[in-house]
Every structure is written in C-alpha cells, then in structure tokens.
Symmetry: C2
Subunit: 137 residues, 2 copies
Amino acid sequence: MLSNKAKYALKALLYLAQQDENHISRTIEIAEAANIPKKFLEQILLDLKRGHFVGSKQGKFGGYYLLKSKNDITLADIHRLFDGAIALLPCASLNFYERCSDCVDESECLLRHGLITIREETLKAMQGITIASLVKI
Amino acid sequence: MLSNKAKYALKALLYLAQQDENHISRTIEIAEAANIPKKFLEQILLDLKRGHFVGSKQGKFGGYYLLKSKNDITLADIHRLFDGAIALLPCASLNFYERCSDCVDESECLLRHGLITIREETLKAMQGITIASLVKI
DNA sequence: ATTAATCCTATAAAGTTAGTAGAGTTTAAA
DNA sequence: TTTAAACTCTACTAACTTTATAGGATTAAT
C-alpha cells in the first residue's frame, strides 16, 4: 500500500500537471485543491524538489512547478522516493537491496526467485503509469 | 513490502510442501529449519489454519500439514491473509475496499484508475506464483 | 521595511509490527 | 490414570513507522 505521503505527492503532481505552462502553484493552493494538510504538503513538495521532480521559486509570488516532463514521472519513481522498494522483500529489490536477517543461504532461497519475478512485473506496470497517462484518463 | 509474518508464513508453507505426503511437521521443527522464532511461528501457523491453508493434529505427535494443494496456495492469498490489500490504495482494492478520507469525488479521481490497472496486473502476477511453482524452481 | 512565500528541523501522537509470556487444551502412550 | 508433548489462545510490550504539527529561518518582490 502507498503511504499518505506518496498519495499526496501523486495528487500534488497531478495538480501541477494540470496547470498552464509557466504557472507557479503555491503550496496552499495545491493543499486546498487536493485536500492535503498544508504543513504536511510542504515537506512532501520539498522531498519532490530534492528528487528533482518539481522546481520551486522562493519568496513572494513563489511556488512550485513541474521540473520533469509529465511523461517522465512514473508511479515507480514516486513509490521509490516515498515508500522505498517496489519488491516485496529487500532481498529481491534492485534499488533497496538488503539481505534478510533470517536467511541462511540466499542463493538457495526458494522465495527470492518468485519475488524477483513479481518485482519485475510490478515494476514494469508501475513504470507504465505516468503523470501524463493519469491526467489523460 | 511483505511483513515478517507473511514472509515466515511463506517459508513455513514451503517447508511443509517439501515434506513427504502424510508427514506431520511440528512447529519447532519448522521454526528451526526456516529460522523463525518459535512462538511467533505458532501464531502464524494458527492464522494459516484459520485460513484453511494448513491443517493440524493436536496433542502428542501432533503438528501441521498442508491442507490445500500446493498449486492452490498463491502469493496473493498469503499477502491478503497477512498483509491485506494487493492494491496500492484501499479505494482501488477488490477485497479491502475503503474510500479515501481525503477524496472529494471518487469517480473523478485521476489516481484511482491507474491504481486499479496496477492492482489488476500485480494480482495476476501474484496469483501466478504458487507454493508449487516456488518449490519447483 | 513589509509581506508572502519557500525552507528546515524538531517533536509528538497514534498506529503498526514483531515479537514474548504464560496459561489452557488436546492427544498418545507408558 | 498419569505424564509428556504438542497445539491453542489471549494478553502484553517494546520498537518502529507514519502522520502529521509547530515554530522559526530564509528568500525575494514590492
């Protein structure tokens, strides 16, 4: 399941994607439109900025705007930024690999192979969902 | 990500699936073979029993055995039993549907449609992974 | 200087997870 | 009929994670 952070991030990105080119959106504007607690959204937008998904303009009349193309922001990206690994266990993860503490011999783990298959399929599906594809629906 | 409960459940089921037909496995035996805390495993096996995936024999020389066919226990089943919804948000879930509290109009939610697509694909993949398929690898 | 915005860090409340503990119940065998 | 060895059940707790909230610092336009 997605955390609220990830859900709010997606909603915020969808909001930004629907604005006119060159429009800058204030946090409060996004928060009210998407029904997200404002101070919580501040953190989320900062995370998105650090992830290079959005840009910001500081000071009066400042705000946020999409930095990447709508086609280049995928569900997989946002999941990884806020909720971490796509895989069902760290040992099956590409970007968040970690050994299971209870694992005796990873190469002989029956579970891991299946979970790698799942990760491959899920990742492919999640990379197919972009901000652009969601807005188009 | 899978909880430890779900991971341990899968490891226990894999252990049971590898035993001889009619063999009954004690909790301690599974716990040691799969490196799972015994008292924690007790709870998990009870959950699996309540889910009708395993059967048990009580008393001395009792233990657990697979109740369903290896082919009929899928990763999706175990995920749902221990970790709940396959979908990324409750509003996109089949078995654990719930409305988002921050949702203004579900029918107009841009996110939901995409998440339903993901759920369909992930579910299909997870239903393709069975205890039998994992043991065969 | 003032105003309105982002930026940053700390903290707290609530919920979830991962176990542990201990007693109860059932069954087989001596 | 007693004992041993197993499952069954409920309660609890410690650690962790999530979900925010608070308060100020910084930046930039007027």
